[in-house]
């Protein structure tokens, strides 16, 4: 009832879910690209999957712009407007890190050494698990369902786990007899990979705060 009075708000709600679905597609292409790289070292498929990741990331950007335009045209009350805009902005950084990981590997022509492949796979798996949980947490927040704090706890634990793996990988890199320059390049890459779970954790905490703030 009265839904016709809130066309913009309804559109924003639909777009947020559309944005998360597109981000999920970018995430899948990112994982495929990483796996392609880890399993076959450099391959043609890797280049194609980078383009695919970029395509979905750009589509997510377009949706984000549409959400922002609707917000600027006075959809939602200012408090909710600010919260949602900042939330989408911080989620967008995750997609930015997907792209950055792939671009670093592409432009610096990096391949992951055999002795850290398993750790990197673990790091990526847990980081993407954080992203999936984040997506669920956002859906719970938008539908005002319980379980937000529980997911926050899991993402926080996963993020700490990722930090441990990240440090372990960097330690292994510097213990190896790789070229110093390559060591630094790999360290940089691992740090960017680590940013995915860090950002998911930051967004998750933000969702929790927004949710608590809404109680009067």
């Amino acid at each position: 009832m009265f839904n016709f009075l809130f066309k913009k708000e309804n559109r924003v709600e639909i777009l947020i879910f559309e944005y998360m679905d597109t981000l999920k597609l970018a995430q899948e292409k990112f994982l495929d690209a990483i796996n392609a790289c880890l399993e076959n070292q450099r391959c043609d498929e890797f280049e194609f999957l980078i383009t695919q990741t970029h395509k979905y990331e750009s589509r997510a950007d377009d949706i984000r712009d549409e959400i922002n335009n609707l917000m600027y045209s006075k959809a939602l009350i200012p408090d909710s407007r600010g919260d949602i805009m900042r939330l989408i902005e911080s989620i967008d950084l995750i997609a930015h890190f997907f792209e950055r990981v792939l671009f670093v590997m592409q432009t610096e022509k990096l391949s992951i050494p055999e002795f850290i492949v398993l750790d990197v796979k673990d790091l990526i798996r847990i980081s993407l698990e954080c992203c999936d949980l984040l997506s669920k947490q956002l859906a719970l927040h938008l539908k005002q369902k319980p379980g937000i704090r529980a997911i926050l706890g899991i993402i926080d634990t996963n993020e700490s786990h990722c930090d441990h793996i990240e440090r372990r990988i960097i330690g292994k890199i510097f213990d190896s007899d790789l070229d110093t320059c390559l060591k630094l390049q790999l360290k940089e890459l691992i740090l960017v990979m680590g940013e995915i779970s860090d950002q998911a954790d930051r967004v998750s905490k933000r969702i929790n705060i927004i949710n608590m703030k809404r109680r009067v």
Binding site: L5, I77, P78, H141
Partner: protein, 313 residues
């Protein structure tokens, strides 16, 4: 009928100023478009004036009995006072200006209804106090209901918007019912128009002020006066409307500005924050004393000037 223009002018300036107290928060924070707010406020002001304006008019006409020329003088004096206070940046209470001007005329006629005046002055002090007393339990009750509903971001957004429109409409109704007396009671007292016609002219002139000149005041005063979250803004609007409505039922025209400040102080007490600045409070207290005094003085001066006669030697 030409004499009524003084009242229309007063109603217009009252509408320009007081609409900010009703929809100021919603418009300045862009929860509501100006034109939506202005049209809703105008419609409900007219309805309020016609449906509930009679008791206020009966009270003000009973303060003193005045002639038509004195009715015009008191309206113009009140409108000039409102303008001066607005220029000085002091919160304006049109009802205080009108009462001050009527008292000025009453002094000249040597007839003031002291019991009626006492009732009016007591209600001036009671307006912010009443708003504080109403806003505190109202906030707790509304917060309990709101939290129990456990709404999603989008549903809560819709509810708050509806709440602000409903509270604003109610506030506009109360403003019309309460302030029509400020605009046209003196003309009823002077026997120029009937009570019904007075409510109609009062409501329409306030609505005209809202539609033509309230935008800047609504956008700036709304921000200056209240800086609250949407839920608190809704409670402030509702508490203000209830307070003004209660005084309307008693039959005393009161200031919506004072009711809003009272409601904001109430919310400040609940939330444990200083929602209203001390300087704002000091200005309001100053305006409480100054407005009726200045208006009374201006009415006396205009009356004096009006009665000057050229006597050739």
């Amino acid at each position: 009928m030409f004499s009524l223009l003084g009242g229309v002018f007063l109603g217009w300036s009252l509408g320009s100023n007081d609409a900010a107290n009703i929809f100021g928060t919603a418009v300045s924070s862009r929860m509501l478009k100006f034109w939506t707010a202005a049209v809703i406020a105008s419609v409900f002001v007219v309805i309020g004036a016609i449906a509930g304006g009679r008791p206020g008019i009966e009270t003000l006409r009973g303060l003193t009995s005045i002639r038509l020329d004195q009715a015009v003088i008191s309206s113009v004096a009140a409108a000039v006072t409102v303008t001066i206070m607005t220029v000085l940046g002091l919160p304006v209470s049109a009802s205080q200006a009108v009462v001050g001007a009527i008292i000025g005329i009453g002094i000249l006629n040597n007839q003031i209804n002291l019991s009626g005046l006492g009732k009016v002055v007591a209600c001036w002090v009671g307006t912010p106090t009443g708003a504080i007393i109403i806003s505190i339990p109202l906030y707790h009750v509304m917060a309990a209901i709101y939290n129990r509903l456990n709404l999603s971001v989008f549903r809560s957004d819709r509810l708050l918007r509806f709440g602000l429109i409903a509270a604003g409409s109610y506030g506009a109704y109360a403003l019309g019912a309460n302030s029509a007396a400020n605009v046209t009671a003196v003309f009823v007292g002077a026997g120029l128009i009937t009570v019904f016609f007075a409510t109609l002219i009062g409501g329409a002139s306030i609505a005209l002020g809202i539609l033509t000149n309230s935008r800047s005041v609504m956008e700036t005063v709304g921000k200056k006066l209240v800086n609250l979250d949407p839920f608190s803004a809704f409670v402030v609007a509702l508490a203000q409307a209830i307070t003004v409505h209660i005084y309307t039922l008693i039959g005393v025209p009161v200031s919506t500005s004072q009711a809003v400040v009272g409601a904001v102080i109430g919310i400040g007490i609940v939330k444990g924050v200083n929602a209203v600045k001390k300087k704002t409070l000091k200005n309001i207290l100053l305006a409480w004393v100054l407005t009726p005094v200045v208006s009374c003085f201006i009415a006396l001066i205009i009356n004096f000037a009006y009665n000057l006669h050229y006597i050739p030697h």
